[in-house]
């Protein structure tokens, strides 16, 4: 046991080629993590650039054209290069096989291929940036996207290619969950993060092909003028919107479901209490994935939809709130009478609960047609989706990183700094985006580099806090990686938070190249805090 534990996947085997050609899900996960974070920083810098421009009215240092490019790249990078591929790719890859007791994902070679496809697609995105950007918005609406002289084709081609990586990862995960579990680990004994990845993967393999085909049609429209989206040729630009949102609404669940999964792990472990409503959470994941396919029209209330469609889409949109609410209440009830400790992961999880609830509720506001006609394309929408995507997904992602960091890499970060940064993220985030709800309500439209004087107060406030937010995230991540430099190793056998799922109880930190030294035997469920006592162990 002891000699064996010295071998871990980070140091064994050695050499650059052993990384580039690795089939080990943990190494592939780490590569996704690093590339994802780089894109996250790149998108973040663009965002801070926009905020700086918006600190005061007028075109202070960014022209309108530049501004169009910046917000498009910001959105496209964050969504298509960071959140969608990198979160399942990083945390999902590292954890899924460990959680189901497998030596690897079902198709390791395919997994590596996914990573390279992602990198290849990312090259197109980088080319777009170097070659002068793209200015259509991340949604690439026709007819403008078929006419714009910016780099629509390289960017959409990049997204098309990255889509394949998403599909292959999804496929791999689904097969892993179905076929690679150890005996005894039945569906209802799976950690909820696995359920979440499963739901995410289902959406990935069913929605992403539609995006792929939409991007193909858009490119054909540009190259060959096939006319499908061009009214001059008898086509319909609104059909593009239907196609796009048929993918992109489900895609918001690709973004949020893994976050739900992370929160479902952090909260019980850091409250040392059995999760409340396991089946509710598990099935709400699936029902969200399903309902998500029926509501795309709520992005098109003002695109000339019939009143009948408006009513139907609005009605179905409200249904999304039910499984979402079920989850939130389950998490809160899990903490009730638990031994809550305010560790960095838990602070992120609590921030998530607060921020995501605001994001979800404002989504319901926007789902009401009468309100949306007023609020569509204003800062209210911007605030809504940042509350769900940044306040929800990215905060959960940061929480997950802090939670599994000692497990994945065998080092512990400075927890005090981590806590301070987590507070900074929470405050900075609210300071940045809450004023944007007010701006939107007062009629400030989105996607403008300048604005009239009445908005200056709220805008400058938002800009100020965005700086705090940026610093906090940056230092939170530096603090994590700093633990490598400081070599602040945890004991290979340690379980710093007292987790109960297989990755905590049966693998060393960092894990062995083959994950488990002996075939793991299923002993207790992932949340059985009422039955078994698991010690928190950590060196010192």
């Amino acid at each position: 046991m002891i000699e064996n534990e010295k071998q871990n996947y980070l140091t064994h085997p050695k050499g650059i080629m052993s990384w580039l050609l690795t089939l080990d899900h943990k190494r592939i996960g780490l590569m996704y993590l690093v590339s994802g974070i780089l894109f996250f920083f790149m998108g973040g810098l663009l965002a801070l650039g926009m905020r700086l421009e918006l600190a005061a009215p007028g075109n202070d240092f960014i022209s309108n054209e530049q501004y169009n490019n910046i917000y498009t790249l910001h959105g496209a990078i964050m969504i298509f290069l960071f959140i969608i591929p990198a979160i399942p790719g990083a945390l999902g890859n590292i954890l899924l096989p460990l959680m189901v007791g497998a030596k690897d994902v079902a198709f390791p070679r395919l997994n590596l291929a996914s990573f390279y496809i992602y990198s290849f697609g990312a090259l197109f995105a980088l080319y777009t940036i170097i070659n002068g950007g793209v200015d259509t918005g991340w949604t690439f609406y026709t007819p403008y996207s078929t006419q714009s002289s910016s780099n629509v084709v390289p960017m959409t081609l990049g997204i098309f290619i990255i889509g394949f990586s998403s599909i292959l990862t999804g496929l791999n995960f689904i097969a892993t969950v179905h076929k690679m579990r150890i005996p005894g680990l039945t569906w209802y004994k799976l950690p909820l993060f696995v359920w979440a990845l499963y739901g995410t993967s289902l959406v990935q393999i069913t929605a992403t092909p539609v995006l792929a085909i939409t991007m193909v049609l858009l490119m054909l429209e540009r190259f060959l003028g096939i006319g499908i989206f061009d009214p001059a040729l008898g086509g319909d630009p609104v059909l593009y919107q239907h196609f796009f949102w048929f993918y992109s609404h489900p895609a918001v669940y690709i973004m949020i479901l893994p976050a739900f999964g992370i929160i479902s792990e952090i909260i019980p472990v850091h409250s040392r209490k059995k999760i409340w409503g396991y089946k509710f959470i598990a099935y709400s994941t699936l029902s969200i994935a399903f309902i998500g396919f029926l509501v795309w029209g709520h992005h098109m209330f003002t695109s000339g939809q019939s009143v009948f469609s408006q009513i139907v889409f609005s009605f179905i949109t409200y249904f999304v709130g039910i499984p979402t609410g079920v989850k939130i209440f389950s998490w809160i009830l899990t903490m009730y009478k638990g031994q809550v400790s305010f560790t960095p992961p838990m602070i992120y999880a609590l921030s998530f609960l607060f921020l995501f609830t605001i994001g979800g509720l404002t989504g319901i506001f926007l789902g009401a047609v009468a309100l949306d006609i007023h609020l569509h394309d204003t800062y209210f929408v911007v605030a809504h989706f940042h509350y769900v995507m940044q306040g929800g997904t990215i905060v959960a992602f940061l929480g997950g990183l802090h939670h599994w960091w000692p497990k994945s890499f065998g080092t512990m970060y400075n927890q005090t700094i981590a806590n301070i940064c987590a507070f900074g993220v929470f405050l900075g985030f609210n300071g940045t985006f809450f004023p944007q709800f007010l701006l939107g309500l007062r009629g400030m439209p989105r996607r403008y580099a300048t604005y009239s004087d009445q908005f200056v107060e709220l805008h400058s406030y938002s800009t100020f806090w965005s700086g705090i937010l940026g610093f906090s995230i940056f230092f939170a991540i530096v603090n994590l990686f700093w633990s490598f430099v400081k070599k602040n190793k945890v004991d290979p056998g340690s379980n710093p938070w007292g987790g109960m799922s297989l990755e905590w109880t049966h693998t060393s930190s960092p894990p062995h190249p083959h994950n488990f030294e002996t075939d793991p035997v299923f002993e207790h469920g992932p949340y059985d805090y009422d039955k078994v006592i698991v010690e928190k162990t950590y060196k010192k």
Partner: protein
């Protein structure tokens, strides 16, 4: 068990046993088929939308397609599905030569399919029945033909299709015929791409079977590519009536 030295060469060690490996591959393949179905579903939706907008145009313009060639291709592709299935049956029975023969037949049929498709495309290119803004076809050439005592038909140089006076009149008033061709080319083109990819995979199967890497005990790749090939066939079975046989 899993580190048993006697385990067969095709066994991948992250699985528990050979059976799990097989089950997993099959499961993954079916998930992939689902993805494929959704890819085409997007295009079928585009088809439905435009056909419901321009019902007359679809019915009129579809006559410009050559039903005989479409039918020929349908037969060719169905036969190739059969030979693919026979190849799998043969390898199960350890009839290696027969299996290779059947795979080769499948390959040849696939090639024939693409050949016919090429002819169709080429002809459309010549007469300008192209997608979107490249569409330049001006309607059937008016040639008076005496058929069955004096009945005058309009005759189009394209595909030996006869237009009667009524259809011709309809054709002249038809909106946006290029949309039909946009959808036709995108859908059959994507399908053709699948046929071409399938041919590559089948070629690889022929090679691997000949080398002995695929054999009676391990023919999973053949079975998986077989599933893919049946899907390609199935999609064509939908495309054929939707383009060639409407109205």
């Amino acid at each position: 068990m899993s580190h048993d030295n006697s385990s067969p060469s095709f066994f991948q060690h992250h699985f528990h046993d050979v059976e799990q490996q097989y089950e997993t591959s099959k499961f993954g393949m079916w998930a992939f088929i689902l993805t494929e179905v959704l890819t085409f579903a997007g295009l079928f939706v585009a088809y439905i939308v435009y056909r419901s907008w321009y019902p007359d145009m679809f019915v009129g313009v579809h006559k410009l397609l050559d039903v005989n060639k479409g039918l020929l291709n349908t037969v060719v592709l169905i036969t190739s599905s059969l030979t693919m299935a026979l190849a799998i049956w043969a390898i199960q029975k350890n009839l290696k030569k027969l299996s290779i023969f059947m795979l080769t037949a499948t390959f040849v049929f696939a090639l024939a399919f693409l050949g016919v498709k090429y002819q169709e495309y080429h002809h459309k290119y010549e007469v300008g029945q192209l997608p979107g803004k490249y569409y330049s076809y001006m309607g059937p050439e008016v040639v008076e033909v005496i058929k069955d005592q004096e009945k005058i038909d309009y005759y189009t140089s394209s595909n030996n299709v006869y237009f009667d006076a009524e259809t011709n009149r309809l054709y002249k008033t038809m909106n946006n015929p290029h949309i039909f061709f946009s959808i036709y080319f995108v859908m059959t083109g994507l399908h053709g791409l699948h046929v071409a990819i399938g041919m590559g995979l089948i070629a690889w199967l022929i090679y691997s079977t000949a080398r002995g890497n695929i054999h009676q005990k391990y023919y999973t790749p053949m079975e998986m590519i077989g599933i893919f090939w049946h899907l390609v066939d199935l999609i064509w079975i939908y495309l054929f009536p939707l383009f060639y046989l409407i109205g």
